[in-house]
Structures are given as structure tokens and as C-alpha cells.
């Protein structure tokens, strides 16, 4: 992997605008590829960021994605203004979804987004306030061996 200093990226995400959904994750993928990060790590990172990005588009009014990439890890934080999640534990269950019909018509809203984010990341934090918004923060180690090592512990 190419040596990098800290890279900071920031993207606005518009609630309800599915034509732009995925743009931020696509940019992250380009940067990680340029850095010659392990392909498996890139895939896990962008699948998790895309799921989170789609969640903001599907559920919130607006949001911002903050990305920090250093030689150790990529940290992605999504902060949105929206209805919030009343019960995070319930939202983490596979199959639970409050998505609208229009979101389901786009191929999402099956209640798999948050569990899939958890599966693909090394650390995940979700905080939410009803009728205010949600913060999702995830970390993915750039060294794939580190993930395997920490999973074994």
C-alpha cells in the first residue's frame, strides 16, 4: 500500500435524492484505489459507506459524510438531520425496516443496511435522537491482517 498522510474528505448528502446516492462512496473508492489499499478492504469500506449513505438518502432530510483516511484506518462519520432511530437495537435486527415504498422500489429497505454495515466494519457506533437526527461512525483498518487478528481475540 502507498504511504499516505491524513486525508480528509467531506460530502453533503441530500435526503430523498436517489440520483446522487452513492456519489460520496464512489469518491472514497477512487481515493482508496489510488492509495493501493487492499481490494477486500476497499470493498468492505465502500459497501458500508454506501449502505450508510443510502440510509441518509432514504430516511433523513439532509446529512454530511466526514471521511478521514490515515495509514492505519479509514474513519467515516455520517451525521444527519432527520427523524432519528427510536430503538437502535431493533434497527440492528436483520429484516427490520421503516423504509417507504419508494425506497423499496429502488432495491433497498429490506432491513439489512445496518447489520451489513456492522459486518463490514471493524468498529461501529450509532447515536440517535428522535426527531433530531442520527450519527453513524465506522472504522475500517487498512491492514486486512489486523481485522483477522482482532476477530480471533
Amino acid at each position: 500500500m502507498a504511504e499516505v498522510e491524513r486525508i480528509l474528505l467531506e460530502y453533503n448528502i441530500e435526503g430523498g435524492n436517489f440520483t446522487r446516492a452513492g456519489y460520496a462512496s464512489s469518491q472514497i473508492k477512487k481515493v482508496l484505489k489510488q492509495m493501493q489499499v487492499d481490494l477486500g478492504v476497499i470493498k468492505r469500506t465502500v459497501v458500508a459507506s454506501y449502505e450508510a449513505e443510502v440510509n441518509v438518502v432514504a430516511h433523513a432530510y439532509s446529512g454530511t459524510m466526514y471521511v478521514a483516511i490515515d495509514p492505519e484506518a479509514v474513519c467515516i462519520e455520517l451525521v444527519d438531520e432527520g427523524p432519528g432511530i427510536p430503538d437502535i437495537e431493533q434497527a440492528m435486527q436483520e429484516g427490520f425496516s421503516t423504509a417507504s415504498v419508494s425506497v423499496r422500489e429502488m432495491g433497498f429497505g429490506a432491513g439489512m443496511g445496518l447489520p451489513n454495515i456492522k459486518k463490514n466494519t471493524d468498529h461501529l457506533e450509532i447515536d440517535s435522537q428522535v426527531e433530531k437526527g442520527t450519527r453513524v461512525a465506522m472504522t475500517i483498518f487498512l491492514d486486512p491482517a489486523r481485522r483477522n487478528k482482532e476477530q480471533q481475540q
Binding site: 470493498k43 465502500v46 454506501y50 443510502v54
Partner: protein
């Protein structure tokens, strides 16, 4: 249909398949990626639910879908899927094609149902993801 005429397990070959063979079997229109017809996929997955596609761990997967919108292409991009077949005569928009070209993807349009598309490719030897 006479059950005896169904291909038994021994008659079904499994393995990789090149896009040019897939396009031929499906009588599909190649909308972009004409220069990548020698690219081979290891297996295929059919879904209209992009959330399911995003759970795939495998590489070199062919996606067969009837869901034609930009998020199908975005999902393929994030999942490292380089070839998408749009079945049941779904039309691919110029916006989708532009995104697919940006990501060096191969996009095929075919008039068969998803069931027939899968059946033809499976019988011809293309493996399922699981």
C-alpha cells in the same frame, strides 16, 4: 415437461463463463463494455433487491436483475461487480450507461425473464454464487 428430459446433475457443467458466451446464450444486446467480451465471471447472482447484492463477498460475479435504475449500477460498483444483465426487457437509461462506462462495466440487456435468463446460464454451466 417430461421430467426425464430435465438435465441431471451430471449433465450440468459448472464453472466460469466469458461475457461473449453469456451474451450469445441470452441473445443479449451489449450496451457498453464491447471491448471486454473476453472478461470471465466465476458465478452469477440474480436479485432485484440491492441490499442482498451488497452482502455478497465473492468477486467476478455476474449480476442478473430486472431493477433498472442508477442504484443498480452504483450497487454493482460498490460490490466490484463488473457485468450486469438487465433481464425481462428492462431498458437501461443513458444516465445508467454513463455511470457504467465511468466504472468500466459491461452492461447487457436481454428480453428473457429473470427465471429464463438464470435457467439458460445455469444449464450452460455457469455456477451460482451459493
Amino acid at each position: 415437461m417430461d421430467a426425464a428430459r430435465l438435465p441431471g446433475p451430471k449433465a450440468i457443467k459448472t464453472g466460469v463463463m466469458q461475457i461473449k458466451e453469456i451474451a450469445g446464450i441470452l441473445d443479449a444486446r451489449v450496451l457498453c463494455g464491447e471491448d471486454k467480451m473476453d472478461y470471465a465471471v466465476d458465478a452469477a447472482f440474480a436479485s432485484d433487491l440491492m441490499s442482498d447484492v451488497l452482502t455478497l463477498k465473492d468477486d467476478h460475479v455476474l449480476l442478473i436483475t430486472g431493477l433498472a435504475n442508477t442504484q443498480t449500477i452504483r450497487t454493482a460498483e460498490m460490490s466490484d461487480i463488473h457485468c450486469v444483465v438487465f433481464a425481462r426487457n428492462k431498458k437501461v437509461s443513458e444516465e445508467m450507461l454513463e455511470l457504467a462506462r465511468e466504472n468500466d462495466m459491461i452492461v447487457l440487456e436481454c428480453r428473457y425473464s429473470v427465471f429464463k435468463t438464470c435457467g439458460l446460464l445455469f444449464t450452460a454451466g455457469l455456477s451460482p454464487v451459493f
